[in-house]
């Protein structure tokens, strides 16, 4: 009798943990996607910086803002690109730390749920 209630409790616990786990999984996948996007952008910006460095100082650089091509100063353009690169890198590190946290929680929840399953089986 007592064992039955214990089993039911264990099952409830297990369900809760399963829900938490699925939420965490979603978080992890979202995190992955965002990080991928940022990584691609970072790569592109680095390419742009490389090309800009290869240009002469008097070359014309334009920026596409909406439907408008605006002439930009070389130095200004370089500075902008550099700032963007820095911003993306900081975002990436923050996301990475978040991901680590979430992943650790996920892992611990996995182990807890495994234990619960074993307990329920017994």
């Amino acid at each position: 009798m007592a064992s039955q209630t214990v089993v039911r409790e264990l099952q409830c616990d297990l369900e809760n943990k399963a829900d938490d786990l699925s939420k965490l999984q979603k978080d992890i996948s979202k995190n992955h996607q965002i990080r991928k996007k940022y990584t691609i952008q970072l790569g592109e910006n680095e390419l742009v910086l490389k090309e800009l460095d290869l240009l002469n100082e008097d070359a014309n650089v334009f920026k596409l803002i909406g439907p408008v091509l605006v002439k930009q100063d070389m130095a200004e353009a370089k500075a902008n690109v550099k700032k963007r690169i820095e911003y993306i890198s900081t975002e990436l590190t923050v996301l990475l730390e978040l991901w680590m946290l979430v992943w650790l929680r996920n892992y611990s929840l996995h182990s807890i749920s495994d234990l619960l399953i074993l307990g329920a089986a017994n």
């Binding site: 390419l47 742009v48 240009l55 650089v61 920026k63 690109v81």
Partner: protein
């Protein structure tokens, strides 16, 4: 037989359940198709890049080109393309730069190189995934066939001739040696093995002469097909019961499956049909590396070489991937893993050997 050797028999299907192996192989195949798509996309980009380079190079040839200018979604009007040497190149992230044709071509070339690097990376990934997939397939088929892994501790034995493996239904044999069990050489055993090899060689030559036409090329070297023939004859003598079934040579390579094991030292590769002599050869392989240098017998290097020729291509086959063939046995590059062998009908084997120049030559080709 010697004192009973303790061993464990584990069914492969318990280690790697069939469905799991199949699922795993499917997963890997999916990832392979994904990567293939990526690869195709990258290749498209590279092709586009090249056409663009050609176009950019041709434009400055004329001061102005006559073209049909697109006007809206579904209209064109005739016009001229002027300023043929001025290009606004997209650098990325909404930044454009005004460049000449030559400079544009340089930028495009750099982009092309970056694409190539990406293509190489994806190709490398694909290779790894393919290797994984083939391994999973092999494991799945093995497990489905009901292979059994037999692990035995290696015990130094004085006489191995009597080690008769009863021909049961699909006897499988895995010989894995642990480093600590490699015994020191016993000269009598070694001599006995050598004499045995001499016998076998004689029989090979007889067999070779007998089957010269069918086999086609009969090299002066001891070839694998000869050894197979000779061993098959031996085994047919020994296995009068005929219960053991050898699989045809056609499937011969498939039987030599690689099973990743934890063994640290060399594993013995044994011709399947000489099961009674398996242990002998196995020991031979184990021990021969150690005394190979000190034993400066004339026969010794040649016969180990002969055996190694046999084993090396078999190892190559066993790897199941395109490995470079190693005609010589190099202990430093020894194959560390366990081989699981199949044995099946002698009869089918004899038939297939007699008119199977194809698998024979395949071994030969592999050796070359």
């Amino acid at each position: 037989m010697e004192a009973p050797i303790k061993g464990t028999v584990t069914s492969l299907s318990s280690l790697f359940p069939v469905e799991e192996a199949q699922k795993a192989s499917k997963r890997v195949e999916e990832s392979i198709t994904e990567r293939q798509k990526q690869l195709d996309q990258l290749r498209e980009f590279a092709a586009d890049n090249n056409t663009l380079i050609n176009l950019v190079q041709r434009l400055p040839d004329q001061l102005h080109h006559e073209i049909m200018v697109p006007f809206g979604k579904a209209a064109f009007f005739p016009g001229h393309l002027v300023h043929t040497n001025e290009f606004l190149v997209l650098l990325g992230e909404g930044h454009y730069a005004e460049r000449t044709a030559k400079q544009t071509v340089e930028i495009l070339n750099r982009r092309g190189k970056a694409l190539e690097v990406q293509v190489e990376a994806v190709k490398a990934l694909m290779q790894d995934l393919k290797a994984e997939a083939s391994f999973f397939d092999a494991t799945a088929s093995e497990a489905a066939d009901g292979l059994v892994e037999i692990r035995e501790d290696y015990v130094e034995e004085t006489s191995t001739k009597e080690a008769s493996m009863k021909g049961t239904v699909k006897p499988e044999l895995t010989i894995s040696s642990e480093a600590e069990n490699v015994p020191s050489v016993k000269d009598e055993e070694y001599d006995r093995i050598l004499s045995r090899l001499a016998e076998l060689e004689k029989e090979e030559e007889e067999a070779e002469n007998a089957n010269q036409e069918e086999l086609g090329e009969a090299g002066s070297d001891i070839s694998l097909d000869d050894v197979i023939l000779e061993e098959e004859m031996k085994s047919s003598e020994l296995k009068e019961r005929g219960e053991s079934r050898f699989q045809s040579t056609e499937k011969f390579p498939d039987n030599w499956h690689v099973q990743g094991s934890k063994s640290t030292s060399k594993d013995c590769i044994v011709p399947e049909n000489c099961l009674p002599e398996n242990l002998a050869y196995g020991k031979f392989n184990l021990t021969e590396s150690a005394p190979r240098e000190p034993q400066a017998k004339e026969d010794a290097p040649r016969e180990p070489q002969a055996k190694e020729d046999v084993k090396a291509p078999v190892i190559a086959e066993a790897k199941a991937d395109a490995l470079p063939t190693k005609p010589g046995f190099d202990s430093s590059k020894a194959f560390t893993g366990s081989i699981i062998e199949h044995t099946s009908d002698v009869n089918s084997r004899e038939q297939s050997v007699s008119h199977s120049s194809k698998p024979v030559s395949r071994f030969k080709m592999q050796r070359k």
